[in-house]
């Protein structure tokens, strides 16, 4: 492990109440990710991967335990505080791309920059779309783009705001093998260039292999951390 810790989670538990009674999704999960490290969280469906990612990224709160992200203790912050941390440090890539259908590719990439009030959003968005090879598709809308192209727009959007940590939820889950491979290459290339900390969920072996470290989540418990 090198440098300072970008993510530091201790004894995270997550319980939810369902119609059938209380359900424990995460059991005392502790996990640290150093600045610049890349980590794959693997595990079967329903093992709690997405819940863990949500908590580590500050989208959700644990029932007990503590999470520090970029040195800020998330569990002591309210939603506005966590939003600030996300705005300053976090980027996302989703399985379903999460592009806004009414916005062009360029506008989708500009959106996080605009929300942060970054000046020169348009130029930077253009630049990152060029980096993912979509210079010719700036004014296209998501429904007019292929799945691979949509995920490239999402990658451009994630990196354009130059986050210190990037969370990716099954980034190749909705793509065919060939396209998926290209997306993986692109993701790691940008990650290396930017020195971003990468935390991704996958059950794709070749994606997990590219990461510096991997852990497996089974029934809410962490193996090989």
């Amino acid at each position: 492990m090198t440098g300072t810790l970008m993510v530091d989670a201790r004894d995270i538990e997550k319980r939810v109440t369902t119609a059938e009674g209380e359900l424990q999704i995460l059991h005392r999960v502790s996990l640290s990710v150093a600045d610049g490290e890349s980590l794959a969280i693997t595990g079967p469906s329903g093992s709690g991967k997405s819940t863990l990612l949500g908590i580590l990224a500050g989208l959700d709160t644990p029932t007990s335990g503590s999470v520090a992200l970029a040195g800020r203790e998330l569990t002591t912050l309210d939603e506005e505080g966590r939003a600030k941390v996300r705005a300053d440090h976090v980027g996302f890539i989703f399985q379903s791309f999460q592009l806004l259908p009414g916005l062009s590719a360029l506008e989708n990439v500009m959106l996080p920059l605009e929300l942060r009030g970054v000046s020169g959003a348009r130029e930077r968005a253009r630049e990152f779309l060029a980096r993912v090879g979509l210079s010719e598709r700036l004014s296209h809308y998501p429904p007019q783009l292929s799945g691979g192209e949509q995920q490239r727009v999402a990658i451009a959007r994630a990196f354009a705001s130059q986050p210190r940590v990037l969370f990716a939820d099954e980034p190749t889950g909705n793509l065919d093998t060939v396209t998926g491979a290209k997306i993986i290459d692109l993701l790691f290339e940008l990650n290396r260039e930017q020195g971003t900390t990468l935390l991704l969920i996958t059950h794709e072996e070749r994606l997990a292999e590219r990461c510096g470290r991997r852990v497996e989540l089974t029934a809410g418990e962490l193996q090989g951390a």
Partner: protein, 828 residues
Amino acid sequence: MLALRLLWRNWRSGELKLLGLALVIAVGVVGAIALFTDRLERSLIQESNALLGADRVVRSSRPINPDWFPEAEARGLQQSQAVTFSSMVFAGEEMYLAGIKAVDERYPLRGNLVVNERAFAADGNVVAEGVPAPGEAWVDGRLLPLLDIALGDTVGVGEYELTVTRILVREPDGGNPFNAMGARLLMNLEDLERTEVIQPGSRVTYQWLLAADSDTVLRQGVEWLEEALGEHERIIDLRTAQQGLTNTLDTGQRFLLLAAVIGVLLAGVAIALSARQFAERHEDQVALMKSLGAGAGQVRRLYLTQLLVLATGASLIGLVLAEIAQRAIAWGIQSGFEVQLLAPGFYPYVFSLLTGVIALVCFALPALWFLPGVPPLKVLRRELEPNRLEASWQLFFAALAVVVLVALFSRDLALALSVLAALLVVLLITLGLALALLSLSRRIGASAGSIWRLAVASLQRRRAESLIQIAVFSVALMLLFTLLVVRTSMVAEWQATLPEGAPNHFLVNIPEHQVAPIQRLLDDENIERQPLYPMVRGRLTEINDNNARELDLEHNTLRREINLTWTDSLAEDNEIIEGLWWDDWQRSDADLPGVSVELDAATGLGLALGDRLRFSVGGLELRAEVASIRTLDWNSMRPNFYFIFEPGALDEFSPTYITSMYLPAEDKPFLNQLLRQYPTILVMELDRIIEQVQRVITQVSNAVQLVLWMTLFGGVLVLFAAVNGSLAARRQESALLRALGSRRQLILGSVFYEFAILGVLAGVIAIVGAEVLLMGLQLFVLEIPVRPHYWLWIAGPLAGAALVSGLGVAGCRSVVTTPPGKVLRELA
């Protein structure tokens, strides 16, 4: 600014278009109604003030204090003076007691003098420029045969000779029945002194006519006058001068108000529906923005700014549309009825602009309120449901909007609340009925053909949505039916107010010995007439031995001499509501004659059965006991009385007799014959007033009609918004069916039946609702008799089915014309 960029992007992607359109229509419809009714109201007031000759008239038995003129001038009031009195007019051997009116150059301030070069001519009437020049007189056509003169001859008024130059056909305030004094002679005020007619003790009425261009100036002027006037002066406005007409105007205005309320409601429903669709589409967007680091506060600010900008923009566009619409309507009315509508005031513009903002805040905001609270985790777990504002709160805000808008619009809270209460009741009935009817249609659908089954299945699958749609359709149809029915019965009611053959002439001052011959003369000529009533003029002086003037009472029977009569048979529009009529009534121990009191007077004077009244009749005393209380119809154009005594009670006061009759225009020369034979009786010609009243009624009716159409358009928009709401899901489903090889007819057919079922159900519920609402409105707000509406029960469901299915098919047509692959891909 980010919010503006987002607004533009949302607009471009079509997500705001329906919301924007609904707002534009809301402001447009409300604005057009507000502007138009404002113009109409101003014009009608002016038109009606033309009946008065001014906005206000100060009437006095003494000359108006000249110190007031400069003060009125300084306050921005226009003024004119008129002096009226009865005087003998001479021409050679002939003489006649004419009603003389001397006016200054500015007379009249409202309305016109209409003159002709010939007497009793059917054409050639022109609006006079100015008034008779000094030395000239304009006279009522009847005066020519009465005095045996022609135009150009001279007549003597007191010590002065005037040349008769024109026939006076119409004067603005010529119709106040109980002030009319025979045929009119109009002369210049400058000549008045030269006639030397007015001596101390003469019975003269001085009129000071006032008008102002702005309501504020007028109101402040009236307030000042009320302070300044003494006990001899009285301010007359239209309300006191023309009770019947005022009632018509009030009802007309209330209807327009009701139409506007309904317009606001319809637009509000459309806004709420489209806001709901907008919110649903934006859940994911907000979750994404929040995952990207936007806080709830930032999201709220972004959306609020977008909405406010949208509201402002839409309101401005709506206002432009409203202006165009009201101009078009006004143009139609002006060219059709040869009336001049006044420009609208400032308030309706401000109000229309506010409408957009208020409608958005109260109808749309509740549906959008949860958006900033959408959890960011939704980007990972789409099944998460945000905390929406409870439906009851959404209803509360919608209700609040209705009350605020209606109160702003009408400044009539009672109307707002009654509509609201009726709506809530109706909404509850709607929900219960909709649930029951929907389950009934399932049972029918199970045994039907494939198109029907598909339609019913679709309804069942979208059960919640179908219910909302039924509720929305029902409310929209209910409001439209209500408006339609109210309009119909109101116009019928107005037409019934002044039926063909309503009495249009009054004969007064008939001495007792002429009663029988005049009755005979009228009957020989087959003239429709009312009975002849004896009449004396008296003043109410004491109630139960207390001085009436010292009692703290407010009624116009206390302010002036009133007409008293006796009769043994009750006129048909009179109805005893308390006490007994003479046949059954017995004098009490006090042995006073009985008197029957009109309800309004009894209420104003606080009278009850058995109360003792004392009247002063020409210095003599008349005592009576209240025997009964009556209602009557002041609009009936028959002789009507506040106080009717038992037969014989007035015999010792030498009464004169009064009656009314109907004289068609072609029989008017009969008046000459009548007056030659009985020169002392007075004829009051109400036919001109009636004609004016009917003109006003026609105008209001037509305005009401147009407003109805505009509101109908708002209703169609609501239906469209509701259909549109389910379109996305329907497009996907239809595309899927198309991809699987369904024929176009099957898809459109099932859509048609689905919406037709919704339409019929909504139509039925709407009728139940409309009947409830109508009963409330007719009983409490408009006071129009409740009539059954059988046609509605057949037309309602049919209209509902036709409207809703038509809109549904129109909305879904694009699905079957676009290749299914494209639709599915765009929706993916």
